[in-house]
């Protein structure tokens, strides 16, 4: 894990810098969206990380925790790490989307189905973090949080298919559309692809770092717990 953190950190930062340079100075303006198309090199990648990668990881780790055969607190800690980093990305998705909306639709916010479902997911993520702060023993907390993560994951298909199910203001998928025919080409397409890789790598680095913090923070508690148990056992022997 330490090696992965050492490699992923500089690599993801380098990819993000390259994405910003290409997005702001190299790619051309769009015929319809003019210079506002440059937001396409950050906003969809942030949404990809928050709405798909983070929640998929949190849901999978939660399932692995809930399944008796694979139950381990490491899955709970990984899910918590994914959600915390996911919150940062989902808030960025909402803010950059709002900026794009102001530039192209003329409003900062509208109660569009996709926007509302995304905002709901942000609230569910924040609820998960609040739930982790409720005092409880580690096993109870892990069980509650796993259920909360799975509940939040139900919102993801709603976010994804909102543009198909309802007549929304938000544009439909540019790359992963039902015909699987990307409506973006050339340097714009490559920069968009790079943004997805860069933000996913950055997410992976942040999650691993967050997980290591969690492990190191609890190792002290584990030692204290072991000492307390040893003391109790010793008391039992003397009495």
């Amino acid at each position: 894990m330490n090696r992965a953190i050492r490699i992923l950190g500089p690599t993801s930062i380098l990819l993000c810098v390259l994405d910003v340079i290409l997005g702001l100075w190299v790619t051309p303006d769009d015929e319809n969206q003019l210079e506002y198309v440059r937001l396409v090199y950050i906003h969809p990648a942030e949404a990809w990380v928050a709405l798909y990668v983070a929640i998929a990881m949190a849901a999978l780790c939660s399932l692995l925790y809930l399944w008796k055969r694979t139950r381990s607190l490491k899955w709970d800690r990984l899910a918590a790490s994914a959600v915390e980093v996911g919150v940062v990305f989902i808030l960025l998705t909402l803010v950059t989307g709002s900026i794009w909306g102001r530039a192209t639709w003329g409003v900062w916010w509208t109660w569009d189905a996709r926007l509302t479902a995304t905002a709901l997911l942000a609230v569910l993520f924040l609820g998960y973090i609040a739930l982790r702060r409720v005092p409880a023993d580690p096993e109870t907390r892990a069980r509650r949080c796993a259920a909360a993560a799975l509940f939040a994951a139900v919102d993801v298909p709603i976010v994804h298919f909102a543009v198909n199910w309802w007549n929304t203001l938000h544009q439909s998928a540019t790359v992963l559309n039902p015909n699987l025919k990307p409506r973006i080409h050339g340097s714009m397409a490559w920069t968009l692809l790079l943004s997805f890789i860069a933000f996913t790598a950055l997410f992976a680095w942040m999650v691993l770092l967050r997980y290591r913090i969690e492990v190191n923070a609890h190792s002290g508690e584990d030692v204290e717990l072991a000492d307390a148990l040893a003391e109790r056992r010793a008391e039992g022997v003397t009495s």
């Binding site: 993000c16 910003v20 937001l39 950050i42 950059t96 900026i99 913090i213 190191n216």
Partner: protein, 36 residues
């Protein structure tokens, strides 16, 4: 163009700030662990 710059600035500042906070928290947690 100010909307585009605004979007990039918000993203960069947030990610850099969160990244630094993670690195500092990681350092503190490792120091605490090696000290305990």
């Amino acid at each position: 163009m100010s909307y585009v710059v605004g979007g990039y600035v918000v993203t960069i500042v947030t990610l850099v700030a969160y990244g630094i906070s993670l690195v500092l928290r990681d350092r503190r947690a490792r120091r605490k662990r090696s000290g305990s």
